[in-house]
């Protein structure tokens, strides 16, 4: 059947859940491109007969052309949805992605991610008063300046804004500035305790 391989790519994306990125399926993409190339060449060859007045080949041309269009749509959707996924991860994981996600990205995606990172950083620096505004902060409206947190894992030393160094050891509790520890909570290192 036409465009069967391209559909496999789409199914593959559909299967994956949030928080993961499937490996970039370069092999399958090449196969799809080869299929498109074959269909295109066949069409180009038969188009000659059509121009000479043989109208019975028109149906075949139509059929193959639809196949090309479909393959194109699937490929573009595959790439686009992966990028969307990566973009979402930038907001959830922060500017450094986990190693296994990075490993599954292709070279162009890595490039895109770096550029996106730079754009976002430049933008965040340009807005707000001097020093910029971190858009990934305060995802929920802040109610207090300090929050009580508990460590869920050993994270090592952490230097606060006023210069004190605290040791984030598993199960220890700290009273930290909300703006400083929010990203650690988002990353699952700390747990927010509400009294």
């Amino acid at each position: 059947m036409l465009a069967e391989k391209a559909l496999d790519l789409i199914r593959e994306l559909k299967r994956t859940s949030g928080g993961t990125l499937p490996p970039f399926n370069e092999d399958k993409i090449r196969q799809v491109l080869e299929e498109v190339q074959t269909l295109f060449e066949q069409n180009r060859d038969t188009a000659k007969y059509a121009a000479e007045g043989q109208h019975d080949v028109l149906a075949a041309i139509q059929l193959r052309h639809a196949g090309i269009q479909r393959n194109k749509r699937c490929l573009l959707a595959y790439l686009y949805n992966r990028l969307e996924n990566i973009r979402r991860m930038r907001w959830e994981f922060g500017s450094v992605l986990p190693a296994d996600v990075k490993y599954n990205m292709c070279e162009h995606e890595v490039q895109w991610f770096n550029q996106y990172n730079r754009l976002l950083a430049n933008y965040m620096r340009s807005i707000g008063e001097s020093g910029g505004l971190d858009l990934t902060q305060d995802m929920k409206p802040p109610k207090s300046l300090y929050v009580l947190v508990r460590c869920l894992m050993d994270h090592g030393e952490f230097e606060t804004q006023d210069g004190t160094v605290i040791l984030l050891k598993k199960n220890s509790q700290h009273y930290l500035m909300r703006s400083e520890c929010e990203h650690l909570i988002r990353q699952g290192v700390l747990e927010h305790i509400v009294q």
Partner: protein
């Protein structure tokens, strides 16, 4: 939030995964003319050509692009699941049918079928609407009133779009519950990070065992 990675916000988009999958559903077609050199599409014969009169199940996207009114090279028939027999079943009691089994994109694909201008177009359209109306109450009831109960048996009967509705209802219920217990102001780990970590732990534990 949960809807973010399960279904796209706009199912009509060119890049929508669901739209692509829904347009893959098969439509029975009959060829009016001979199509040369495309015989490999019909796996029941070894001919090099598709001969006139061949009946094939084509995916919707192909049927749609070949559909050119009366001068079309194919004749399109109504798919089995949308025919009179099934329409009667849906009208009798929409709540008992397993729409996921009848094509996980029952409504989305049904909507696409309408654009083919089949002879029983109006009937299909009204059955789609009535089926949804009949089922909606139960979906809403189930998603709005059950907290932390296993609903797999109910959800498994739903079509993809109904599942989206269902999870939206559940999400709303959970958010409300959180607000009531003042949990909503609590900062929490992002769901994506949590999922990623769970998966990693699973991989690590399966490696060590």
């Amino acid at each position: 939030m949960a809807a973010n990675f399960t279904l796209d916000s706009n199912p009509d988009s060119y890049f929508s995964l669901d739209d692509i999958l829904a347009s893959q559903e098969k439509v029975p077609c009959t060829f009016n003319t001979q199509v040369s050199n495309m015989g490999y599409m019909d796996q029941s014969t070894t001919d090099t050509n598709i001969v006139s009169g061949t009946k094939l199940e084509l995916p919707f996207w192909l049927a749609k692009s070949l559909d050119r009114g009366s001068r079309s090279i194919i004749n399109i028939d109504t798919p089995k699941n949308y025919k009179e027999v099934y329409r009667q079943i849906f009208t009798a009691d929409p709540n008992v049918v397993d729409l996921h089994k009848l094509g996980p994109y029952f409504y989305l694909f049904g909507g696409k079928l309408i654009s083919l201008h089949l002879p029983d177009n109006d009937d299909i359209a009204s059955v789609l609407l009535k089926t949804f109306q009949g089922r909606f109450r139960r979906i809403m009831d189930g998603s709005q009133n059950t907290l932390n109960v296993d609903l797999t048996s109910q959800v498994s009967l739903l079509d993809e779009q109904e599942r989206l509705l269902f999870s939206a209802g559940q999400q709303g219920l959970h958010d409300f519950q959180k607000w009531e217990t003042r949990e909503s102001e609590k900062l929490s780990t992002s769901t994506m990070v949590a999922n990623h970590r769970k998966r990693k732990r699973f991989v690590l534990s399966s490696k060590s065992s």
